[in-house]
């Protein structure tokens, strides 16, 4: 008998269907990956199983069989007896999933207390054992610390400790590593694997990252628009996808698509960006902290240079100094051809990570794209209107988009609007700060394609900031790897990816999920 058997599950939010009759099973000791893009219903499935649907969500039909109990028909109160004991949940966002005013130890201990397991002394002992088990050094100290004293990876380990505390039969991990750096991501996934081997727990891994799913699961369930597109053994699905949608997802996943490295010869026009010995310090309390520590690189005209590193490596700070949104403590950024003062912005533009935050919600798309033209007084009203239409067409947005508001657009469309705005004043250098990191793989592939096309047609130079090595491999000609404010290695993308010299680069590359099973 299956451990978890979902039959014809249908869920809707206020009448709008989110799941339209899906069925799949999870066998004991098995890892099933539920993959799909945002809005596919994968997270809704996880929430429905744990009985934690957001307000307005209702189960309209179908059965959720855990062993021989049908959870779909259970009251919320009765479900409480299952959560923690038989199903453990690892939530998505380690930053917001822990109570900031309670110690880590108290939060793990809560699981035991809620289910009436053990007296205070046993609970305390078990908490320390668990923290050691999930690989936190010095567990006794950790138990007394508060969430803000731990890093993102450590918090995710604490959440895993809470999920496995009562040794449940099934762990549901909802995007457990999306918010983590690649190397941390790998360690957390390894931990989940180890625990599964040790306790024989089944894992339902909900993820948008096909790379992670392919590397870590026994079986894949591919979802789209609340329906299952395809399911089967992971190796078989990856090798020969049955549904066109799966094939496209696999194609678009940068980690899985084998592409040639981009190469570019020097065109003799000299570099577009020259950065020398850049230093930036921040004061934290009484201590000065060097976010960027002597960074130097050059970017040839018409090429893409990537700055890679994990959070806190100083890559975004460097990018902001190049775009003159921050001033360096020492060192220089030279951009040949750029004028000083406000006119600098005609030459260098920044595209932000979050397409939801970088567009004024009250402006229409046309107003947003027109803004640089108005600021620099480029053309009269009619000329500006023609130029806006041209730009929207350039980034492949449909003609009617101009009158719409950002909130009516999808993430990918918004990022296209942001790119159109950046192009409006005819810049030569674009600084792209994690510009595709917030997007689904398919959209990400489209935007990367657009960026490549624009570079070819307009001769743009990109400084591409990313933590995602798979994306960097695809888009960049040259790479600098940053760690703790310094560049530890740089070279052409081919050199860095095929023959990494620095141990940190090797660690980063090893952390890219590859299908191994």
């Amino acid at each position: 008998m299956s451990l978890l058997d979902i039959r014809d599950l249908a869920v809707s939010y206020g009448g709008r269907p989110a799941l339209r009759g899906i069925s799949f099973t999870v066998e004991p000791e098995e890892v099933v990956a539920l993959v799909g893009e945002s809005g596919s219903g994968k997270s809704t499935t996880a929430h429905a199983i744990t009985g934690l649907l957001p307000r307005g969500g209702t189960v309209d039909g179908g059965r959720i069989l855990l062993g021989d109990a049908d959870l779909a028909s259970w009251s919320p109160r009765r479900l409480e007896s299952v959560r923690g004991t038989r199903i453990g949940l690892v939530p998505q966002d380690p930053a917001n999933s822990l109570n900031p005013v309670k110690t880590v130890g108290a939060q793990i201990g809560e699981v035991f207390r809620l289910h009436g397991r053990g007296d205070r002394r046993t609970v305390r002992r078990r908490v320390v054992e668990l923290l050691a088990r999930v690989g936190l050094p010095d567990p006794e100290t950790r138990a007394r610390q508060y969430p803000h004293e731990l890093s993102g990876g450590m918090r995710q380990r604490v959440l895993i400790a809470i999920a496995i505390a009562l040794e449940p039969e099934l762990i549901i991990a909802d995007e457990p590593t999306s918010a983590l750096d690649v190397t941390v991501q790998r360690r957390v996934l390894d931990l989940i694997d180890d625990l599964r081997a040790e306790f024989g727990t089944a894992v339902l891994l909900v993820t948008h990252d096909l790379g992670v799913a392919a590397a870590r699961s026994d079986r894949l369930v591919v979802m789209k628009d609340g329906l299952i597109e395809e399911r089967g053994p992971t190796a078989a699905v990856v090798a020969a996808p049955g549904a066109a949608y799966t094939a496209r997802l696999l194609d678009d996943a940068p980690a899985l698509s084998a592409r040639d490295f981009r190469t570019a010869g020097s065109d003799g026009r000299g570099p577009a960006i020259v950065v020398r010995d850049l230093v930036k310090e921040f004061t934290v309390g009484r201590h000065a902290f060097r976010a960027v520590d002597g960074v130097s690189f050059e970017v040839a005209r018409g090429t893409t240079h990537a700055l890679v590193g994990e959070s806190g490596s100083g890559k975004t700070t460097t990018a902001r100094m190049v775009a003159r949104f921050a001033d360096p403590a020492s060192g220089t950024v030279e951009i040949p051809g750029a004028e000083p003062g406000r006119l600098f912005r005609r030459h260098v533009q920044l595209v932000y990570q979050n397409p939801y935050g970088s567009l004024d919600p009250r402006q229409s798309v046309a107003e947003i794209v027109e803004e640089p033209l108005r600021n620099f007084r480029l053309g009269d009203r009619a000329a500006r209107r023609t130029r806006v239409a041209e730009l929207l067409d350039r980034v492949a947005l449909p003609a009617g988009t101009g009158t719409r508001r950002p909130r009516e657009l999808s993430g990918g469309q918004r990022q296209r609007v942001a790119i159109a705005r950046a192009l409006a004043a005819g810049p030569e250098v674009l600084v792209l700060d994690e510009a595709v990191s917030a997007l689904d793989v398919t959209v990400q592939a489209q935007i990367l394609g657009l960026l490549e096309e624009l570079q070819r047609d307009l001769g743009l130079t990109y400084l591409f900031i990313s933590h995602d090595l798979a994306v960097v491999r695809q888009i960049s000609h040259t790479v600098s790897v940053m760690s703790e404010g310094r560049i530890v290695e740089s070279g052409t993308t081919r050199e860095v990816f095929t023959g990494p010299r620095h141990p940190y680069t090797r660690e980063l590359l090893a952390a890219i999920p590859e299908p191994v099973r």
Binding site: R342, R345, R346, Y352, R362, Q363
Partner: protein, 302 residues
């Protein structure tokens, strides 16, 4: 007295709420209800809008609602209890109380309107100046606002009246000055929040100059919660104006101003309950209705 204090407290609470409001826009400022999905408006909100609509109509066309004269009394009919002919009864000189309440609404509403306008304009100006300039100017303005907040509202209003002299307009200005601090704090916190957003930085990145960015992006995105506070302050201003009228600083008798009505009725509290209770109930209804509408504007801007 307690009316003004409560106003402060509510404004303070609202202010805290304003800090976490996210995407804000005047465009989205509308009367939204909690049951958005079913499309059915909430009963409380409908009632609130109805109350305000009726009172506004009283102010605009009082003749439609009552045929009685609000000023001239009929001595033979003095101190009658409410009945079909005199809905709210009559007062000591035989004037119809309902007619006085209806004709009085114009004083309370216009007073509240002036008060809110003074508070809104002055407060938003100070707040957005502080929020956008930062530094020394921010500190100076906000400490001034702190001083305003530390003086009890009624005391502040009385001080202003003593400076300006009594009268309907002066009372309205005095009440408005009392709400400047609340508006300034809310506007400042919103401007500071919006200034930190990516889209404001992107606007500078697009070559925008400071005043243009402020006008095009920062102000429109900051004003949603301020409008909600204005609706709340409208009710509070009516209460405050009535309080000052009650104390005798507002309109002169025989003007049928609401606070004055309640004050005059106090002498007959033991025998003629309707003289204080019914005008009081009208004031309470209007204040509650304004608060309810403010809440849904606030929710609409979330």
């Amino acid at each position: 007295m307690s009316g003004i204090r409560t106003g402060k407290l509510l404004a303070g609470k609202f202010h805290a709420g304003g800090l976490r409001l996210r995407t804000v826009g005047l465009r989205t400022v509308g009367l939204r209800t909690g049951r958005r999905r079913t499309g059915r408006p909430e009963t409380g909100l409908v009632l609130a809008v109805l109350v305000i609509a009726v009172v506004v109509l009283w102010a605009l066309v009082p003749g439609l609602f009552t045929a009685h004269d609000p000023i001239a009394g009929v001595p033979a009919e003095k101190l009658r209890a409410p009945d079909a002919r005199h809905l709210f009864g009559t007062d000591a000189v035989g004037r119809d109380l309902f007619a006085r309440v209806v004709h009085g609404s114009v004083h309370s509403l216009s007073g509240a309107f002036v008060a809110v306008t003074v508070g809104l304009l002055l407060g938003t100006l100070l707040g957005s100046l502080a929020g956008s300039a930062g530094g020394l100017l921010d500190d100076a303005i906000m400490r001034l606002v702190d001083v305003l907040l530390s003086v009890p509202g009624l005391l502040l209003a009385l001080t202003v009246i003593i400076l300006l002299g009594p009268g309907t307009v002066n009372v309205a200005i005095a009440v408005g000055v009392g709400s400047v601090a609340a508006f300034a704090r809310l506007a400042r916190s919103e401007v500071v929040r919006v200034r930190r957003t990516d889209y404001v930085e992107a606007a500078f990145g697009s070559g925008g100059r400071y005043p243009a960015v402020l006008w095009r992006h920062v102000l429109p995105n900051s004003l949603g919660p301020v409008v909600a506070l204005a609706a709340l302050q409208f009710g509070m201003a009516i209460l405050a104006i009535s309080t000052l009228g009650f104390l005798g600083y507002g309109a002169e008798p025989p003007t049928p101003e609401w606070g004055l009505l309640i004050s005059e009725g106090r002498n007959y509290l033991a025998t003629s309950w309707w003289l204080t209770t019914l005008p009081g109930a009208v004031v309470v209804a209007v204040v509650l209705a304004a608060g309810r509408i403010s809440r849904s504007i606030g929710r609409g801007t979330e």
